[in-house]
């Protein structure tokens, strides 16, 4: 038999489309598998020549799921250029908005995109694997997911003006102070939201035993981890310094000022994907694979710093037996803990006197000609790096997007899962669903960096090494 290729296109229930190819060897065994991100949007070029004040509004449009992360990284880069630090109330309000986004984005991944696999199983008929089916069979769970996501979205709308592409986060702080009535309205929802979050975590944990094979093979391997963290290594999403940890739990390098990220992160280009592959420079492209996002953050953090999340973190850490948790399936677990953390933290920040201060913004003139803004997006560490003229015209932009950081690990994971589940003599929908589900663990946001889509086809093309289609498998 000749070498063959299986193509899954488009990948669904992820935020952005991608294409997967699975290469078979002469004996029909899986030889390689890759994810291809198939579109490129070019923000790094077309922002050149814009005035710096436009950057938050333009770069928000890289992604409609995590626009807040882009606006925050963007305004932080501009803060550096203006050489200013927002007043504490401004910082706290930015943090609340950022946490609200973590809640909505993690809720979206869990309830709207991934939970159909947990409820119905990876081998369920594909017509059933979606939120609309869930509304029929598990109406309360669907409603809970919608409400939890709405809780996050409404906070963003209240405090930053708009749910998607909010305008209220600006250089030097935020536009508006928090009103007492807003504070009370948010606080009043917290008990219900916490109940939903805890319920989801409970549901996940009680169903975990059904997925042992997936846990073992969904991108379960040693890699480095990167996240922002603060001095005591408590969980951090807004500020802090970069930290790299290895798969044994050793700190390779910490206290890295995000302004110096280029010394530690390199970017490689592959000819068959528009998504570049960042790697940890000191170890080189081959060995420098790292993971970011909720799993990386919880591996690196010693504590969350809030009581309920810390209780869960302890149980989570036990999975690794004192070492980092290496199974990407547990990204789902980590995100659920982060939702609990975010709800607790929103409450804590809202109750801090300083947050209610009227002074929420400072202004200044350009003092530095370069600034790097870095924050933890739901999916991992995000960098915005701008250079400007002294008149404020952007001359160079580099963006490293959260999902991109995971590119090498996602590829390794797709291959591992294909090896474990794809049998070329009997290619089942369930096996291919799992190959997609491993990507869903990382919750990739491909629209961010590139946004992807492929040829619309449910067909899996089996191709020989000359790319000639020799067999077509229809997933309908």
């Amino acid at each position: 038999m000749e070498n063959r290729k299986i193509i899954i296109d488009p990948v669904t229930r992820i935020e952005g489309h991608a294409k997967i190819t699975i290469d078979l060897d002469e004996n029909g065994k899986v030889e390689d598998a890759k994810i291809h991100v198939t579109q490129y949007r070019g923000f790094e070029k077309f922002c050149e020549g814009r005035i710096y004040t436009e950057m938050p509004a333009i770069t928000a449009r890289t992604c409609g799921i995590c626009p807040v992360s882009h606006v925050i990284a963007s305004t932080k880069a501009i803060d550096k250029i203006l050489c200013i630090t927002p007043p504490q109330a401004g910082i706290n309000i930015r943090k609340i908005i950022n946490l609200a986004q973590i809640v909505q984005s993690h809720a979206l991944n869990f309830f709207h995109l991934s939970s159909p696999d947990f409820i119905y199983g990876f081998d369920a008929p594909k017509e059933d694997r979606n939120i609309f089916k869930m509304m029929q069979t598990h109406p309360q769970m669907a409603r809970d997911g919608i409400n939890l996501r709405a809780f996050g979205q409404k906070i963003i709308e209240e405090l930053a003006g708009k749910r998607i592409h909010p305008t209220g986060i600006v250089a030097g702080g935020v536009e508006h102070k928090i009103e007492q009535s807003q504070k009370e309205a948010i606080l009043s929802q917290i008990p219900d939201m916490m109940k939903i979050a805890q319920g989801a975590l409970e549901f996940f944990k009680t169903n975990l035993h059904k997925f042992q094979k997936e846990i073992d093979s969904f991108a379960s391997f040693p890699s480095l981890f990167m996240a922002l963290t603060n001095e005591n290594r408590t969980l951090e999403h807004y500020d802090g310094a970069l930290c790299f940890m290895d798969s044994e739990g050793n700190i390779l390098k910490d206290k890295i000022n995000p302004q110096d990220y280029r010394e530690f992160i390199g970017e490689a280009v592959e000819e068959d994907s528009y998504l570049k592959s960042p790697y940890y420079k000191p170890l080189g492209y081959e060995n420098g694979m790292y993971r970011v996002g909720a799993l990386a953050r919880l591996n690196i953090a010693k504590t969350c710093g809030t009581p309920l999340a810390d209780e869960e973190l302890k149980k989570f850490k036990a999975l690794g037996g004192g070492k980092p948790v290496l199974n990407s399936f547990y990204y789902h677990y980590a995100r659920l803990i982060e939702i609990i953390y975010a709800i607790e933290k929103i409450e804590e920040l809202l109750n801090a006197d300083e947050t209610m201060n009227e002074n929420v913004k400072v202004t200044s003139k350009i003092s530095n000609l370069r600034g790097v803004g870095c924050s933890e997006a739901p999916r991992g560490t995000l960098f915005h790096d701008y250079q400007v003229t002294k008149d404020g015209i952007i001359t160079a932009v580099n963006l490293i997007i959260a999902t991109g950081n995971n590119n090498l690990a996602m590829n390794a994971g797709v291959k591992q899962t294909a090896l474990a589940f794809v049998d070329s003599k009997n290619i089942t929908d369930g096996a291919l669903n799992r190959v997609e589900a491993v990507i869903r663990c990382f919750d990739p946001c491909l629209s961010c960096s590139t946004h992807a889509l492929g040829i619309v086809s449910s067909k899996i093309e089996v191709r020989d090494h000359n790319k000639k289609v020799i067999q077509v498998i229809d997933r309908n």
Binding site: D9, T12, R13, I14, E15, G16, H17, K19, T38, Q39, Y40, G42, E44, K45, F46, I58, R61, T62, C63, G64, I65, H112, L113, K126, E127, R129, I131, F132, A142, R143, I146, N147, R149, A150, Q153, R163, I164, H165, E267, A268, V269, E270, E271, D272, S273, Y274, K276, K281, Y285, N398, N433, C445, S447, H451, L453, I455, V456, K459, R475, N476
Partner: protein, 179 residues
């Protein structure tokens, strides 16, 4: 009232317009019984079905595959709705038109790369970028335009409800460009 066979398609946009669909919150549950989502990033169908009543499109056209795909989808859709400013005007997705694809690719994959062995931009398996990003109506007939960045979720809700109930609706009162 008949069930609408609905497809949603995500081209070169930021997904914000698709998120705005979800921002209907509980109203999504309210209209769910009246729609059948037959194709969408939210469901697992891989092939565009036949006889779709309404296809909602987010984003502009920016690759050779987009063009081929949208023509095929238009043939199988009774109505097509351009959702958001990217689909309608190109918006942010078309900002790279100021430079052209080659210059934009060069910046991303040559200037801003530490390792690029082939010294070329990605071209295997991935589709080719058009030199100019196009709004939807330049390539296919569009029945409805619902602007906004993103289109406000209320506008999407009112529009869907009107279609479900089979009545006319004045969308100009619901939204505007850039909102």
């Amino acid at each position: 009232m008949k069930k609408i066979r609905l497809a949603t398609l995500w081209l070169d946009g930021c997904s914000g317009c698709h998120m705005s669909i979800l921002d209907m919150d509980e109203k999504l549950i309210e209209i769910a019984p009246f729609i059948d989502v037959v194709y969408s990033p939210y469901v697992d169908t891989k092939e565009f079905p036949k006889d779709v009543d309404l296809t909602i499109v987010e984003g502009a056209l920016s690759t050779d595959h987009d063009i081929a795909m949208i023509k095929k989808i238009r043939e199988n859709s009774k109505l097509m709705l351009a959702l958001g400013d990217c689909a309608i005007t190109g918006n942010v997705s078309a900002m790279k038109n100021l430079f052209g694809s080659d210059v934009v690719l060069e910046r991303g994959y040559l200037d801003l790369a530490d390792i690029n062995e082939s010294k070329e931009y990605p071209s295997k398996i991935v589709p080719k970028l058009l030199d100019k990003v196009l709004p939807l109506h330049e390539v296919v007939h569009v029945d409805y335009f619902l602007p906004g960045c993103p289109t406000p979720s209320d506008a999407i809700y009112e529009m869907l409800k009107a279609l479900i109930e089979g009545r006319e609706i004045n969308i100009h009162s619901l939204t505007r460009f850039g909102k």
